[in-house]
């Protein structure tokens, strides 16, 4: 068990900077997820921690030791790959024990560890099979078993669930979480799926263009995103961004969306945005769950307005509604009994206590 530290880590391929100076501290036992769109440098970062890629600049430390020039086999890490990378000619047990056999562990010890890992992953009856006789989910369990038996300092997962179908992915997500709760090994997990990131992570690292956009717990990222990128990447359906500006009217600060539509800000928000220039082009960031059907007695900060719905998507427990505001498509979530219908008008409420205000040019959350 160990902590992992990245100090100004840079990776260049010829002239292309894949990773541009990353600083990251991962505590012992922590489950950290690197998430971002493809090409954001998350996999490269993971492979540099594994030692599969050289680092161009900076330092990587595992358990306090700089491992920049330490080969992968001496870093005491285990990795789970997207395509499982099981040795096709070996049985499950042989796959799992390969690393231990290379290190000449005693046979009894190897057997104990395999049994233990197989029980934990529920693959006891599969240990004598070859990988091609296993389903995708079973193969991924074996790949995890191969990591667990080594009892390494750090687990590295490189998009391990991307090859599985949606249902199995949810199931394996829970398995991975359970395994981590049992073995408590420091884990770095790479995915492009924000749901996976949110559900698994102690802390999520959102990456974009080779840089870290924000680090935080799933809740921090969801409720207090630092940038437009994070705000739009985390959460499904994504946050709405509606062009707006601030204006003073009747002694109260308003957020004006169209000539006919402006909402007064609740006191806490008004105080926070007092210093923002009234001429700045701004974006009003609203998550779909903060646009709901109107309530007869709105709380402070909840404002009712009328909209004509374009499309409705009944999901069972809720109905997603889509309508246009100043040419921007906006998504809201209403009660299935609220009477939302395609093309029909509906009175909606917006909860400004949970609003975000972003600078349209810089993308920063104010």
């Amino acid at each position: 068990m160990a902590d992992v530290t990245l100090r100004k880590v840079v990776k260049k391929y010829d002239d292309v900077e894949a990773v541009r100076g990353i600083d990251l501290d991962i505590a012992d036992h922590e489950f950290v997820v690197l998430v971002g769109p493809s090409g954001c440098g998350k996999s490269t970062t993971l492979r540099m921690i594994a030692g599969l890629e050289d680092i161009t600049d900076g330092d990587i430390m595992i358990g306090g030791d700089v491992v920049n020039d330490v080969p992968p086999k001496d870093r005491d890490i285990a990795m789970v790959f997207q395509n499982y990378a099981l040795y096709p000619h070996m049985t499950v047990a042989e796959n799992m024990s390969f690393g231990l056999r290379l290190k000449r562990y005693p046979k009894a010890e190897i057997k104990t560890r395999i049994d233990e890992a197989a029980r934990m992953l529920d693959i006891v009856e599969l240990v004598d099979r070859k990988p091609k006789q296993l389903s995708g989910g079973q193969r991924q369990r074996v790949a995890m078993g191969r990591a667990i038996v080594r009892n390494p300092k750090v687990f590295l997962f490189d998009e391990p669930l991307s090859n599985l179908d949606a249902k199995l992915r949810v199931q394996m997500r829970i398995e991975i979480k359970k395994v981590h709760q049992k073995v408590r090994t420091t884990t770095v997990y790479v995915t492009h799926d924000q749901v996976e990131a949110m559900t698994l992570a102690d802390r999520v690292v959102v990456m974009n263009h080779g840089r870290i956009e924000q680090i935080g717990t799933p809740n921090e990222l969801y409720h207090n995103p630092a940038t437009k990128f994070v705000a739009s990447f985390i959460g499904s359906p994504a946050m709405n961004f509606i062009p707006c500006r601030l204006e003073e009217s009747g002694g109260k600060l308003h957020v004006r969306i169209t000539d006919r539509l402006a909402f007064p800000l609740p006191p806490a928000r008004a105080a926070r945005y007092q210093g923002v220039s009234r001429t700045d082009k701004l974006l009003l960031g609203l998550r779909p769950e903060h646009i709901t059907e109107a309530s007869p007695h709105p709380e402070t900060g909840v404002e009712n307005f009328d909209a004509t719905l374009d499309v409705t998507e009944p999901m069972g427990m809720e109905t997603l509604i889509y309508f246009a505001l100043e040419g921007t498509q906006v998504c809201g979530r209403v009660n299935p009994n609220a009477g939302a219908q395609d093309g029909a008008p509906l009175r909606l409420a917006v909860d400004l206590n949970n609003m975000h205000l972003l600078n349209e040019v810089s993308g920063a959350v104010i």
Partner: protein, 304 residues
């Protein structure tokens, strides 16, 4: 929206369509059988003629009878060859040369292919292409310079390799190593990168990755390369003809031609028998490893 039951009026036409498709298929099959038969006849008539001739006496061969029929079958050609020390020496020489050449080839080309396919180093791609280009140079162009080299080598060191069967162990690999390396590069390249990365993280050295992961996984390719190396060294004619002359140093193809043709007298019965016996070992190997050979060649071909 009200739901309606859609009656598929096109449905009855489907069997008709199927029938026309199956008619297409029937014709395709007829044509393929026609050409397959044509090629089979083309390929199998010479060996059949060899079998027929090998069962005849010299007298019957030279007699003006139907060449496609044996009137007085005899095994005398087989008995004579299999009891002749000379023929058995040729056979032994061929076997020794082929076994050693296959071993040497595999020991060189498998590690070479692994290095060229996986251990990216400066110039590895150029080197891989270079290896293949070497294979394109025909032996008819190479045998004279090679001969001169061995003469010079003999003059310099006093070690005379010419006219010794084992000189072929040095020469044949110039044919087999490039091609086998090329096959194995293609085969190794088709193994997912993650597999060796997993092995490296598991603590395997390059050598262990090769012997414990790559060789077992690429076994069909390895067998294809082995068969190729064996066939080339077993059937090689030009190099042994040039480099060996004493009858006790000859390999089978050259031995048959030089000892069974005396002046302008052709011992046709024995020549055919010798050729048949000589063709037997590769045939047996092919029969057993055919599936691997095909799998190996195709897999290597698409990912080269």
């Amino acid at each position: 929206m009200t739901s309606t039951v859609v009656i598929d009026k096109a449905a009855p036409t489907r069997p008709v369509k199927l029938r026309s498709m199956s008619r297409d298929r029937t014709w395709a099959l007829r044509w393929s059988y026609f050409f397959l038969t044509l090629f089979a006849v083309f390929a199998l008539v010479p060996p059949l003629y060899m079998v027929i001739t090998s069962l005849k006496t010299s007298a019957e061969i030279s007699a003006a009878t139907n060449p496609w029929w044996v009137y007085h079958p005899t095994l005398s050609n087989y008995v004579e060859l299999l009891t002749s020390n000379q023929f058995l020496t040729f056979f032994r020489n061929s076997a020794l040369v082929s076994i050693f050449v296959v071993t040497i080839t595999m020991l060189i080309s498998v590690p070479a292919a692994f290095a060229l396919a996986r251990m990216r180093f400066w110039g590895s791609a150029t080197l891989a292409t270079g290896v293949f280009l070497t294979y394109l140079i025909p032996e008819t162009l190479l045998f004279l310079p090679l001969f001169k080299m061995f003469v010079a080598f003999g003059d310099l060191t006093g070690i005379q390799l010419i006219n010794k069967w084992y000189v072929l162990l040095v020469i044949y690999p110039t044919l087999t190593v490039p091609f086998c390396t090329w096959i194995m590069i293609g085969y190794f390249a088709s193994i997912p990168k993650e597999l060796d990365e997993a092995a490296i993280i598991d603590g395997a050295s390059w050598f262990q990755t090769l012997t414990r992961i790559f060789i077992p996984v690429a076994l069909p390719g390895l067998i294809a390369a082995t068969i190729f190396a064996f066939t080339v060294s077993w059937a090689q004619f030009l190099y042994p003809l040039v480099f060996t002359t004493s009858t006790d140093q000859l390999v089978l193809p050259v031995g048959i031609v030089t000892t069974l043709i005396k002046g302008d007298v052709f011992a046709w019965g024995q020549i055919m028998t010798g050729a048949l016996l000589g063709a037997a070992p590769p045939l047996i190997i092919y029969a057993f490893l055919m599936d691997y050979y095909i799998a190996g060649l195709t897999a290597g071909a698409t990912k080269g």
